[in-house]
Homo-oligomer: 525 residues x 2
């Protein structure tokens, strides 16, 4: 990663603008002369969702979820407070097992959880709407490894983390900076979240996710957000969306509940997500998986509303299957597609935002397998009406590696999904009857005035695809998509310039981090 | 292709069964001992179509198509008979330009063209239903080149042609043998159709397509079909579906009209297809393209009904765009997806079967670009409610090359689309409540009785994907998807065994071909 020093210097360069801007005319000129980075707003879908269950099917799934909640119950482990909250709410609590009166979790959610919320970014132009007919793309989350053509696969570092934040920042159709874009294993486990959250703030101005590996780390995230946005602003607005996974089947464990309570209490958003490999964490069937997912979400999401009514909460599901031969997770196959499409319907009926899918794959390389599986996950994700798309770009090897080439290849696909979402333009210009009259039978549209007028915006332009003739492609070195992607991410990191950040805020963040790091010794738990 | 001799010998081996079976007990034993080839029936979709235009949008497109037909008109070139047919039907014919009274082509189609038809195969188990909620997958059509990892890209031969017929025959979710699976350029242009049609009959028992490059060659196809099925059977049944392309914009030319008339007159099916690269053959906008496509289809499809009312005709559209920089065709981008989804709606309103899409791409290699673009074409093709999917497998380089690895990679995707089409099983077994009760919170479903009972059929099993651990993948040689596909197609060709063909029919076909070949000298026009 020879680019990093250069880009960090660039980051230190242009930092003056925003509401608390300092610095002189020179700095402002530098900002103005910078070529404007293309950024697309979060998606507002104009195409319909694809629904695979009818009313009767939906009622079956909802009834089964109610049966699970009422008769089997859900485990809430290592969290006395949650048990008490549910006891007080009228649930049957036996040890750590909670059984819910029919309809209670749903009614709790529907009483106070917002159908849609704004997640604020430190640059207000990058605020996103999560819910309704909106879709927000975020990067891959969680991998301990990174992969690229130069290094192959190796453990991730904080430098890789910064690189993926920068790539996400520079990707027009990436609306969100994400969270654990890779796991910086070169830093101690009990402190790395500070550098991770700082990197999102420092190297991007898009909204970001918080740490969930310990309630204290969630609290640190909230503190850092207060430095950036102000404590008062946070009390009334959501600036963090965080990922809270169930320990499926039917278990919420203490770490996740602890982090969830911190965020909910601070009016910040939680994506309550059963993490499902069907056949292992849920039944091998789609309908069985859906009922269990819905039960787990209802229990988890309702808990956020017991902690703080009105705190934003998202219906999440990570849907995959396993190979029945090896037990290995598989991706891009038909069954998770059906789970995602149907779960989107369940979320809309429940009335909270929805998260699923992404650009998932099992491949170790950015090859055809990776692409087939990712596309067969991403398009259904969009058609499911997904509001928050984690793992939108960079995911490889079942989530074990963040791929550099994969990231920019997927980013191109996100751009296509954004264009697809716009639907069909039926304006007079869209109808193009003048063009058809002008050209007439047997001619061509290449030079006609309508084509010329729409030249710039006519078609989505891929950043990765080679559409040239075989001869030209051969003359240019017979590169495959991954090799072109390798050039692209390197160029992006070379050209990266950090968005301005108020130096006072930056200083305060660094001070906070230094103090927290000094307070306790390094630890890897 | 060292496999060809061996497989041809195998083909000569087991040939005795069917209504006119000859040969002794030994041959019958050989047939019985052969491992049964897995074959899937044509798809009956249980998932809904994805529709991108509302009633108002559809009405706009239909009105614009009517305006094109009435005011601009369509050229019918080099075919006096078609001009006379339309004159007699009440159209305004000026030279080769036909202008149509408002609504006339639509009413002609709706009066007699079937909503759905059966295309018979020589093995009745392989008959396909084209129309309604059915989907039939067919291979790539047309490429002059072939591509594989061993040879790179080279001109196609009749041996390649046979190989792709064999691969299609062995692919469970390939319901149709297709037509020009590649162009055998080693044979003279005026005779190669005889070997092509013969190869479909000899090396497969799935339904096939006919020659369209000259009316005489279409007639030869019909004659050969009569040898296989009997002349009387052909008069009442459809055994050939052929591809009739418009010369867009707004031209039907003599060659295609000539072939179309031969097939329609013989009660055989035509897929009437505007071949569109938006920006060249149609306006740069989706709505403009749709109106032109609909006008061209209405004019072409109605012509089949003037030739023979009731002859099956399919609403086809080949939808792609061009790069506005280079003019090169692009694939898997959002705009053709919208064209396909909306055109499916127009076809259903018109009331005839629909063809679009496939596994299209611009890539020269079976790499990530090829896979992203193909998946982003194929899934929308299914969701568009497409009834006949040409180019389902094997397409590379904008249709210039038939790829061996690409074929088996795409074939895997076709299997996934077939599984996806089945939708969600809501039976008691599908709901899996017993499994959820048995396993309960905090355990896993790997060994539970429901999982064991559904072990074989639980999830789609990819033939290409590697889902193993990184370590195992590394130990197995770090192969990418294309390298695994290379092994797969070679194994398939090694294991290929021809379906039985009545020796009397085979002899008659060979006699017909020999006579036709001897009648005129070779020619490359």
């Amino acid at each position: 990663m020879t680019d990093a020093t250069g880009t960090d210097q660039a980051a230190q360069g242009g930092t003056t603008s925003g509401r608390r801007a300092r610095g002189g005319a020179e700095a402002r000129r530098a900002v103005r002369s910078r070529p404007k980075l293309e950024q697309l707003p979060y998606i507002t879908r104009k195409i319909p969702v694809t629904e695979v269950l009818d009313e009767e099917g939906l009622a079956i799934i909802e009834r089964n979820a109610d049966i699970i909640l009422e008769e089997i119950g859900i485990e809430f482990r290592d969290d006395e407070e949650c048990l008490k909250l549910w006891k007080d709410a009228g649930a049957d609590v036996q040890g750590t097992r909670i059984r819910f009166p029919r309809g209670l979790p749903r009614s709790i959610i529907q009483k106070s959880a917002p159908r849609q919320y704004t997640q604020h970014a430190r640059n207000p132009e990058r605020n996103v709407e999560i819910g309704g007919n909106h879709t927000v793309f975020a990067p891959v989350y969680g991998p301990p490894f990174v992969q690229n053509l130069d290094d192959g696969r190796r453990y991730a570092t904080i430098e890789d983390f910064r690189n993926f934040v920068k790539l996400a920042y520079m990707t027009p159709a990436m609306h969100h900076s994400g969270g654990t874009v890779c796991e910086p294993v070169d830093l101690p486990v009990n402190k790395r979240h500070l550098d991770m959250v700082y990197s999102h703030i420092r190297y991007s101005d898009k909204p970001f996710m918080g740490s969930v590996t310990h309630p204290e780390r969630a609290a640190d995230t909230v503190e850092m957000a207060k430095i950036v946005f102000g404590a008062e602003f946070l009390e009334k607005n959501t600036v963090i969306t965080s990922l809270i996974n169930a320990n499926s089947p039917m278990v919420w464990d203490g770490t996740m509940l602890g982090a969830m309570k911190v965020y909910a209490r601070a009016n910040q958003a939680c994506i309550v997500t059963p993490f499902i490999l069907s056949g292992a964490m849920s039944p091998v069937t789609v309908a069985g998986t859906l009922a269990q997912v819905l039960a787990e979400v209802l229990a988890g999401a309702a808990t956020t509303q017991l902690v703080r009514p009105g705190a934003p909460v998202v219906f999440g599901v990570f849907a995959s299957s396993i190979s029945m031969q090896s037990g290995a997770p598989t991706f891009g196959t038909p069954e998770p597609t059906l789970v995602s499409l149907a779960a989107g319907q369940l979320a809309r009926r429940l009335g909270i935002p929805f998260r699923t899918g992404g650009s998932l794959c099992a491949s170790k390389l950015p090859d055809a397998q990776a692409a087939y599986e990712s596309a067969q996950t991403l398009l259904p994700t969009l058609l499911a009406g997904t509001n928050f798309v984690l793992h939108g770009a960079g995911w490889l090897e079942g989530g074990l590696a963040s791929g550099y080439e994969k990231f920019v290849m997927d980013a191109d696909q996100l751009g296509m999904m954004q264009k697809l979402s716009e639907g069909i333009d039926l304006s007079e210009n869209g109808q193009a009857m003048d063009a058809i009259r002008e050209v007439g039978p047997g001619s061509h549209f290449l030079g006609c005035s309508h084509t010329q007028a729409n030249f710039e915006t006519a078609f989505y332009r891929s950043t990765i695809a080679d559409n040239n003739s075989y001869e030209q492609w051969e003359a240019e070195g017979r590169l495959d998509a991954a090799q072109r992607a390798n050039k692209l991410w390197k160029r992006m990191l070379r050209e990266y310039e950090a968005p301005p950040l108020d130096p006072g805020i930056d200083e305060a963040l660094q001070e906070f981090i230094a103090k927290k790091k000094a307070a306790v010794p390094d630890s890897n738990v």
